[in-house]
């Protein structure tokens, strides 16, 4: 290991649950969390886009209004689902996660006021529809979008920095940490997934929305569904460039990564299948469009599941060796502490 790599002492307490259980909590709930986060952020992007488009055409404004209503629901679910994975990552990667937190602490804690503020603004935007001057109203959503686009950068910094203990002594705060390799490509990868996920949500929602609500929007159901599919499709196609880039620029890690490569390769195949299914359904006649939702969504879920699994394998490959060194150092510490304690106790006895 690099001599500049810090090897800290871990907390000298055993894990509270078997590792597989913690890993399962982490991966399963993180997957659910991230899907809702994607929809929340994607929903904000599209709301802004259609509201601007709606300046000249009422129906897009209606669509924007409809999408805006989904953000606040998705956000509540997303936040509450994030707590479990946070608990699990704190437990499984204590040394790594907390160290990354501290090194970028001012930005890490600013997630709280920024997100709370963005959520309040989303409500403001939702409930003052057509009650504010247009420019101001759009400006509120633009601010929400800006905050929503910034927050993932903070999270990505945490999970990138935590896997590279050899860099902990180099970074000076958050802005510096933004220069970590791989970070920006992953950011692009994540941001592109947001419109894709809200696209899926649109197809799901507009397949089942009551006729009168559809009429209120003023866009035929088939066109709404195809719009959703387009948002799901084109960003996903772009991912065939960004995804491999993110994969190839992953920093070298000490552990074996053949498994990671295999999972990512498989996920690319699954993504190709998902895209093909979307394309086929999108081209179906009006009466049938949307029927292919579940197969396509299933394929996409598989893709995300494989991404999550692949990331986990990479994480383990990245910290595995370091974790052993930490365990050794911790054992040394515990032994030294016991020796000092015993010596102090017998010295005290001798005095008596």
């Amino acid at each position: 290991m690099n001599p500049q790599t810090p090897v800290p002492v871990d907390l000298p307490l055993p894990l509270p649950a078997p590792v597989p259980v913690l890993v399962a909590v982490l991966l399963i709930f993180f997957l659910m969390h991230i899907v809702f986060i994607n929809m929340m952020i994607g929903g904000a992007f599209l709301t802004l886009w259609y509201e601007i488009k709606g300046r000249t055409s009422r129906k897009w404004d209606n669509l924007a209004h409809d999408l805006a209503a989904s953000i606040t629901v998705n956000k509540s679910i997303a936040v509450v689902l994030g707590v479990g994975p946070l608990l699990a990552i704190n437990t499984l990667y204590t040394t790594y996660f907390y160290s990354a937190n501290a090194l970028t602490g001012d930005f890490w804690i600013s997630v709280i006021p920024l997100v709370a503020g963005a959520f309040l603004l989303t409500y403001l935007h939702k409930y003052l529809w057509h009650k504010l001057p247009w420019g101001l109203h759009v400006g509120v959503m633009a601010l929400v979008v800006a905050i929503f686009a910034f927050i993932p950068l903070i999270f990505l910094t945490q999970i990138t920095l935590m896997l590279q203990p050899e860099r902990w002594t180099e970074v000076r705060g958050f802005w510096d940490a933004l220069q970590l390799p791989n970070l920006w490509v992953r950011y692009a990868h994540f941001i592109l997934s947001c419109p894709a996920m809200i696209g899926f949500m649109m197809v799901w929602a507009y397949r089942r929305k009551p006729e009168e609500d559809i009429a209120e929007i003023g866009i035929p159901r088939a066109e709404l569904i195809r719009t959703g599919w387009r948002w799901a499709f084109w960003p996903s196609v772009l991912q065939f460039i960004v995804g491999p880039l993110a994969w190839l620029t992953l920093p070298e890690v000490p552990g074996p990564t053949q498994g990671v490569d295999a999972v990512f390769a498989l996920s690319a195949v699954a993504a190709a299948i998902a895209c093909a299914l979307i394309w086929l359904d999108m081209k179906a006649p009006d009466a049938k469009v949307g029927r292919g939702f579940w197969p396509a969504a299933g394929a996409m879920l598989l893709v995300i599941a494989m991404m999550v699994a692949g990331r986990h394998m990479y994480r383990e490959a990245a910290v595995g060796e370091h974790r052993l060194a930490v365990a050794e150092k911790t054992a040394d510490f515990v032994a030294a502490s016991k020796a000092a304690r015993d010596a102090a106790a017998s010295a005290a006895e001798a005095v008596e």
């Binding site: 500049q4 810090p6 800290p8 002492v9 907390l11 000298p12 307490l13 055993p14 894990l15 509270p16 649950a17 606040t72 629901v73 956000k75 509540s76 679910i77 936040v79 509450v80 689902l81 994030g82 707590v83 479990g84 946070l86 608990l87 704190n90 437990t91 204590t94 040394t95 907390y98 160290s99 937190n101 501290a102 090194l103 970028t104 602490g105 001012d106 930005f107 890490w108 804690i109 997630v111 709280i112 006021p113 997100v115 709370a116 959520f119 309040l120 409500y123 902990w168 002594t169 970074v171 000076r172 705060g173 958050f174 510096d176 030294a336 502490s337 000092a340 304690r341 010596a343 102090a344």
Partner: protein
């Protein structure tokens, strides 16, 4: 303590946690636990009287509560985690390793609560839930409201237990069942105090909101004010009763933990303030509510605000009890508030804390620039590291609870020479029982004193790892120099 050390020199690290936690408790008590039953009761009353004005007002109040709890409320809840793991990673990390399932349960309850509040709020105007005046749907919706109120209360009841258990000295490593939390002698009194307090708080907030949501010339305003006042008035005596129960139980639980006379003095002080504060606030609640019942048109907004502030103050004062229980610990008898474990103290006394520290928090240029000539930079750097490890969780250099201010008060203008300050620091845990004993060796006490002596002239804020980054301490450097000096 072996993480890079985050440090806020203005607000202070404990200040960060306190701001977030107090905000969270206020929103949780005032807008969730107390407010949900009140809103459901208003909805029920309106339905019974077939008076849609009640329904409208209840919906508006719920709207406000919903907006705040699902944004600032939810985020400050997560924020407590974030801030504690930044400030005290070793303590929260250790607690998680023992109480993971307690937190897991808390999380599940939290999910249920969020789902319920989403349902309650979003179905209010839906036809199937009586939004169009359908009786059966409305009854169901009202039941949902009371279920939500009950669940918010259950969340609080569980969290109070988990918190009480975790913070309670003695039983954290000896007795691992969560049940212990419920059988803790202060648990029931605490709940008996918090519950009516939450209801009274919600009543006062609802009165204030009613003034905003109804017009001055609308007779319904006064009708609503009168009813909400009645609700608040009913809660007031229970605040006093619960408070009295709590007040009488605390000392016997506390006495075993109060070994130091100094602390006993402070505690008696706190205890006195508590009883007067409680009596005063209850009186205020009762007077305002009585006025609301009697002459609703006379209730002035500033007085409502003042009562609310009173409740906020008493809640905050009340939270301080945990500090007394914990004394210098962050986890009773296991870990001191500086993050060092009690059982490792002999090791630190032998080798020093620096010998086992992986990281150094470098002095910034600004910090270095103001160091008086004649001091050795290496020793000052060591001093800063000792400060960061042993003092910075509770103290700042320039902000809240700043060591500089304490020194200025204690030593005034005379030079803060190590000779002057070291003697104090060696026995600081006896002078100030909130403080853990100084953990390091003699050399570390000296470099710390040298570092602190620069505070007299150096106005620079202390930079934590999020600004200055971290460097590796040379392994063993601390011990080697220490023993080299001892051998001279």
């Amino acid at each position: 303590m072996d993480f890079p050390i985050f440090h806020l020199d203005a607000l202070g690290n404990r200040g960060l946690i306190a701001v977030i936690a107090v905000l969270h408790v206020l929103i949780n008590h005032g807008l969730a636990v107390g407010m949900m039953p009140l809103v459901a009761a208003m909805e029920w009353y309106g339905h019974k009287k077939q008076d849609p004005r009640w329904d409208r007002l209840a919906y508006r109040i719920l709207f406000f509560a919903f907006l705040i709890t699902t944004t600032v409320g939810a985020l400050t809840g997560v924020g407590i985690w974030f801030s504690v793991s930044l400030v005290n990673p070793y303590s929260i990390g250790s607690l998680i390793r023992v109480f993971l399932w307690g937190w897991f349960i808390e999380w599940l309850v939290f999910i249920t609560e969020v789902v319920l509040i989403l349902c309650y709020f979003l179905t209010w105007k839906k036809k199937a839930w009586g939004g169009a005046g359908d009786g059966i749907g409305k009854t169901r919706h009202i039941r949902l409201g009371f279920a939500l109120g009950f669940f918010s209360w259950v969340t609080m009841a569980i969290i109070v237990s988990i918190l009480g258990f975790m913070m309670d000295p003695g039983n954290w490593l000896s007795n691992h069942t969560l049940w212990e939390g419920f059988t803790n002698p202060v648990y029931l009194p605490q709940l008996a105090f918090r519950t009516p307090l939450a209801l009274a708080m919600a009543g006062i907030i609802a009165m204030t909101l009613t003034l905003f949501f109804t017009r001055r010339d609308d007779p319904f305003r006064y009708q609503a004010l009168r009813s909400v006042s009645l609700f608040t008035l009913m809660a007031a005596p229970f605040v006093l009763l619960g408070g009295w129960w709590y007040y009488s139980v605390v000392p016997e639980t506390m006495v075993q933990n109060l070994a130091v006379s100094m602390l006993t003095l402070e505690f008696v002080d706190w205890h006195q303030t508590l009883i007067w504060g409680m009596a005063g606030v209850t009186l205020m609640i009762a007077l305002v509510a009585q006025l609301g019942v009697w002459k609703p048109a006379w209730v002035p907004r500033p007085v409502l605000l003042l009562t609310l502030l009173g409740i906020i103050w008493i809640t905050g004062h009340f939270e301080r009890v945990r500090e007394f229980v914990r004394k210098p610990y962050v986890i009773g008898e296991y870990m001191y508030a500086n993050g060092l474990r009690v059982e490792d103290y002999p090791l630190y006394a032998r080798d020093g804390v620096l010998a086992w520290a992986t990281y150094s928090t470098p002095l910034t240029e600004a910090e270095k620039g103001a160091i008086p000539a004649g001091l050795d930079l290496g020793r000052v750097q060591d001093g800063k590291d000792v400060f960061m490890i042993t003092c910075s969780r509770c103290h700042t250099g320039t902000g809240v609870n700043a060591v500089r201010n304490h020194f200025a008060r204690m030593f005034g203008d005379q030079p803060w020479s190590p000779d002057l300050t070291m003697g104090y620091m060696e026995f600081m845990h006896e002078a100030q029982p909130f403080m853990p004993p100084f953990p390091g060796n003699q050399r570390e006490l000296e470099v710390l004193a040298e570092y602190l002596s620069t505070f007299q002239t150096n106005p620079a804020a202390i930079a934590g790892a999020q600004v200055a980054g971290v460097k590796l301490r040379q392994p063993d450097a601390g011990t080697q120099t220490a023993s080299a000096e001892e051998h001279q």
